[in-house]
Amino acid sequence: MESESARMSSREEARFRIQDPNSRPRVIKVIALDAASEAAVRRLAAKPWQSATFLSAAAFPRAATDFSGQSKDLTKEAGAADLVVMVASPGGEAHAASVIGEACSAKRVMTTGLLIGAGAATEDAVSRTLSQLRPWSLMLVVADPDDYIADMLTALRA
């Protein structure tokens, strides 16, 4: 007689898997930390997403804005999310990372740092930006192409 594992993991049994949705949309905030990453995030913001919103903190310490130009309170925005994705580019000034990171830490919000365009950057530039992101990122990704952000957000059901 076949065991439970043998029967239940067969291809035939897959049709009995429950098809009801198993999650609700999560709130994801994608925040550009510098001018170069702002351009990439602006392109993303123009696409349809179910639960992601996009901000720029490139002018920090001036107020953050969304891509319609409206001012946003970084602390409030970050604290209200399920996940905050901070996007930076090598050599950029990612000073807003600490404010965002502290807000996320206080509200127990997951943070991901995304360093884009690292392939062509100098070691110094990568190192400087990484050291700004690292203390505040529970996950850090160093990617060369910026189109990875869209794939990542899709994978996370943003």
């Binding site: 067969s10 049994e13 991901t112 990484l130 050291s131 996950m139 850090l140 990704v141 794939d151 990542m152």
Partner: protein, 427 residues
Amino acid sequence: MLKKEHSDLITQTGPGTPMGQLFRRYWMPALLAEELPENDCPPVRIKLLSERLVAFRDTQGRYGLIDEFCAHRGVSLWFGRNEDCGLRCPYHGWKYDVTGQCVDVPSEPEGSAFPNRIKLKNYPLIERGGVLWTYMGLPETQPQPPEWEFATVPRTHTITTKRFQECNWLQALEGGIDSSHVSFLHRSELNTDPLFWNARANQYNFNDLRPVFEVVESPGGLYIGARRNADDGNYYWRITQWVMPNFTMIPPRGDHPLHGHFWVPIDDGNCWAWSYEYHPTRPLTEEELTAVLEGKGIHVKTDANYRPLANKDNDYLIDRAGQKAGKTYSGVHGIAMQDASLQESMGPVVDRTKENLVSTDNGIIMARYRLLIAVKALADKGIAPPGIEAEHQKVRSASIILPPNQPFKEAAKDAFVARPAVAPVSV
């Protein structure tokens, strides 16, 4: 989540599929050399990338990997007689050499040219590091033989095992690059497994149960770093190598051997999990070899067909009492079967449209991203994927302590390169 069409694209590896074309650009482990131990030994049936093949070693020691079925009436040549430099079909005596060329059709007149017109599909089969490797692509794109360090160190320094895994290759690979499961599923093994215990850095694992992950693109694939707090404000890094499409190397511990996997598609619902263990600068000890053969570390005890003794037919010999007593986290014994049992439980090909990935799954997300880019680049523009060049294969994983502000890709770059007679960087 991953769209169904994208999941199909990178899980289906049969002939003519885009991912199948990508796999057919690499040398892949096909058999252990021990499976064809001597000239004229019995042939071996094998399915790779959804193609049924038979392997044999002829009278002169040459290896052949050819279509499993006789061109005459479709009989399996696994029943063939391996004799006088060829594999002879027992039905009507048609005989094939290691290139698949028919060399004798006894029913035809002696000297007939008819056998010249019969040739079975064949692939090269070469021995390297105790493994028989095959290349299933076009002859004009055949790369140099594999340069993975485990396959090029002296035979006394290396041992490789394989096991049958009943799920798609990508499911198994994704387990190999999913660093965040280790703290749960394998937490009981660090101090008890002879291929892991007594490393100084194990203490960092136990002291910091919430590692932070960094995923960085490498020339051949990805570096997946897990960062924990070490002494004096430094970080303890464990950095896994993934080289496209299906090679992984686990970070080392102390002076234990380096180890890792190849995940080779058999068909779209099964794969071979290859597990290597080697040390670049010394022979493996008797204790290490015994541990491997007893199924310790990332290895498994199998039957003669390389199917694990603990498998889904016996519910993986799950030990609920041991689970409750804290001997294992999942109730399944052994690191490899802990992984395999859960990966097989997902079904032959997991439905990725239903998954809810989280941020710490970025290693998996990035790997899929790179695979999709590579498969499309090859299909649309003929661009060769990463991982074929020798430089991409001469790699090592590392465990290393670094100051907090350093990017590990630069700070550990020497550690990532396999250099003959240079010890691995390991804590």
